[in-house]
C-alpha cells in the first residue's frame, strides 16, 4: 500500500473533474492511498507569474507548507500546471533567498513553515516507477489491444524541469499505454503546446494550435488521444466543433485522460472513470476495437 499527499488543484474540481474521478479510481484499484491536502489553495497557475513572482511563489509555498506540516509523503499533482508551479516554487525558494525570505516571513506570520522537504511528483512517474508496469499489467482485466492511442504530454510535465522523463521525447505515458495493450501512435508533436489559456483569450490563436495537434494525430491514425493535463484535455476536446468549422476539416477525436484508459483496461466501470463527461464520446472508436475493447 503506497501513500501520498494529494493536491487536486482547481481544474480537477471543475472542468477536469473526470481526471480526478478516474485518477482516484485507478489509485484505489492499484491500492495507492491518497490524502488530499487540508484546505489547499490555488497554486497560482501561470497567470500569477505575470503579476508578481512573490505572490506566485507564496501561493504555491502555502500548499507545500501544508503538505510538509501534515505528512512526510511525496505530493502528487496530476494537473500539469500545478505540477510545474509547485516544482518551480521549490526551485525558487532554494535559488532566490530574496523571494524565499519574504515569502517564508509572510507564511510564518500565518503560523506556516516550509523547510523545502516536499517532493512534488506527477502520477505518470508514480505509476511508472513506484507502482511499475508489471504490477499494472497483472491487474489488466480487458486489454485495449488494437486501439491506436496518441500520447499527448503537453508542455509543463517535462518542461522546463525534466525530472522523470526525457525533455525532447518523453516516453513514460507511452509505456503505460502499451501496458494496457493499446498501440502507441508515434507523432512529432507529443510535447507541442496546445495553447493553454489562449483558446479562451485569443480563440483564433489557441484553436489553430489545437488544430495542428488534432490534424497531425489523425494523420497518424490515432483513434483516441491520451492526455495528462486538464487544460490540454479541455482545449483539444471542447473546441473541436469550432476548429472543424474554422479549418473546414473533420477533427473529431475522443480526448481521454491517460488515467481513464488505464481505468478501462483495469475493467473499472465507465461511470467511475467519468467517461460520461466526454463531449466527444469515446465510443466513436471504430467497431473492431469496440468488439474486443470495453469501450
Amino acid at each position: 500500500m503506497k501513500k501520498y499527499s494529494y493536491f487536486p488543484g482547481c481544474s480537477l474540481k471543475g472542468l477536469g473533474r473526470a481526471y480526478e474521478e478516474s485518477f482516484l479510481a485507478v489509485c484505489k484499484a492499484l491500492n495507492i492511498e491518497l490524502k488530499e491536502l487540508e484546505d489547499w489553495n490555488c497554486c497560482g497557475a501561470t497567470a500569477y507569474m505575470a503579476i508578481d513572482e512573490h505572490h506566485a511563489v507564496a501561493l504555491a509555498t502555502r500548499d507545500l507548507a501544508l503538505a510538509e506540516m501534515n505528512s512526510t509523503e511525496d505530493l502528487l499533482a496530476p494537473c500539469a500546471g500545478c505540477y510545474l508551479v509547485l516544482n518551480k516554487a521549490n526551485k525558487y525558494l532554494a535559488k532566490y533567498p530574496r523571494i524565499g525570505g519574504t515569502v517564508r516571513q509572510a507564511l510564518a506570520e500565518e503560523g506556516l513553515k516550509y523547510e523545502g522537504r516536499i517532493k512534488v511528483r506527477h502520477p505518470l512517474e508514480v505509476l511508472l516507477n513506484d507502482v511499475g508496469l508489471e504490477a499494472i499489467q497483472q491487474k489488466i482485466k480487458s486489454s485495449l489491444r488494437g486501439l491506436k492511442v496518441a500520447p499527448y504530454y503537453g508542455c509543463q510535465i517535462v518542461r522546463p524541469y525534466a525530472v522523470f522523463d526525457d525533455q525532447y521525447n518523453p516516453t513514460s505515458m507511452d509505456k503505460l499505454i502499451e501496458a494496457t495493450g493499446a498501440k502507441v501512435v508515434e507523432f512529432a508533436l507529443k510535447t507541442k503546446c496546445c495553447g493553454g489559456s489562449l483558446t479562451g483569450t485569443l480563440a483564433k490563436v489557441g484553436q489553430e494550435m489545437c488544430f495542428n495537434l488534432l490534424h497531425e494525430m489523425k494523420r497518424r491514425g490515432a483513434q483516441v488521444v491520451a492526455t495528462a493535463c486538464p487544460l490540454c484535455q479541455f482545449n483539444l476536446e471542447v473546441y473541436q466543433r469550432e476548429i472543424a468549422a474554422r479549418h473546414k476539416e473533420d477533427v473529431r477525436l475522443p480526448i481521454l485522460y491517460f488515467t481513464q484508459l488505464i481505468g478501462l483496461a483495469l475493467g473499472l466501470p465507465k461511470k467511475a472513470l467519468g467517461l460520461q463527461r466526454q463531449i466527444v464520446a469515446a465510443d466513436r472508436i471504430p467497431a473492431e476495437c469496440r468488439a474486443e475493447n470495453p469501450i
Partner: protein, 220 residues
Amino acid sequence: MLRIEREIRYEAERDRSFADEIKKMPGCELMDRCIQCGTCSGACPVSIFMDYTPRKVIELTRSGFKQDVLKSTTIWLCASCYACTVECPKQIGITDVMYALKQKAIEEKVYPPRFPIPVLAREFFKMVRAKGRIAETKLAILLFLKTQFLKIFGMQRLGIDLLRTGRFSPFSLIFPESMKDPAKLTRLIDRLDAKLNSRELEARLESGNPSRPCCPGGAK
C-alpha cells in the same frame, strides 16, 4: 493607403536601466548571453502569430527599447510552454523574461483596452484572493463579459455541452469552488504585500524608481 513613418531609433529613446531591471527578475539573469540565434522563435509554437519574434524581444529588451517591447503582442501570446527555455543554447530563461515583461506592462498599464490576457490575469488574481481557488467557468464568463461581451453568445453550444456532461453547474456561479476559509489566504497575501510595499519603499529611497502597485489594476 501606404502609411509612411520614420523607423529610425535614436539613442535618446533607449531606456538604459530597462535591461538591468529585467535582469534582476528571477530567471532573467543570463539574458546578456543571447547570441540572437533564433532558436527560441523556431521552438515557439505561438511565434507564428507574434509581431516580434521572441529573439527580437530579447534584443529590444537588452538594448532598452522599452516601449517597443511592452507594446508588442509577443509577451501576451507567450503560453508559458517553456519550449524556448529548454531549447535555448545559452540557457536563458526566455519564458521568465516574458513573465517579467508582462509584469512591467501590467505595472505601467501599456496594453490595449479590453485586451483579454491582462484582464484574465487580473480577474484570476482577484478570484484567488477572494476565494482561494478558481472556478474556471465563472472566470471564463467574467472574462468574456469584460472583454468580448458579444462573443459570449457564440459560446452557448459549449456551455450546453459542459452542462450536459456535468462538467459545470450554473450552481457553481453562485457558490463557486472555494477554500473552507479563504480569509486565511487573503491574510497571507496582505502580509506579503505589506512586506513588498515596505521593501518597495526602501528600494525607492535608494533609487528614484517609481513604486510598483503590489497588484494590478488596484485590485485591492
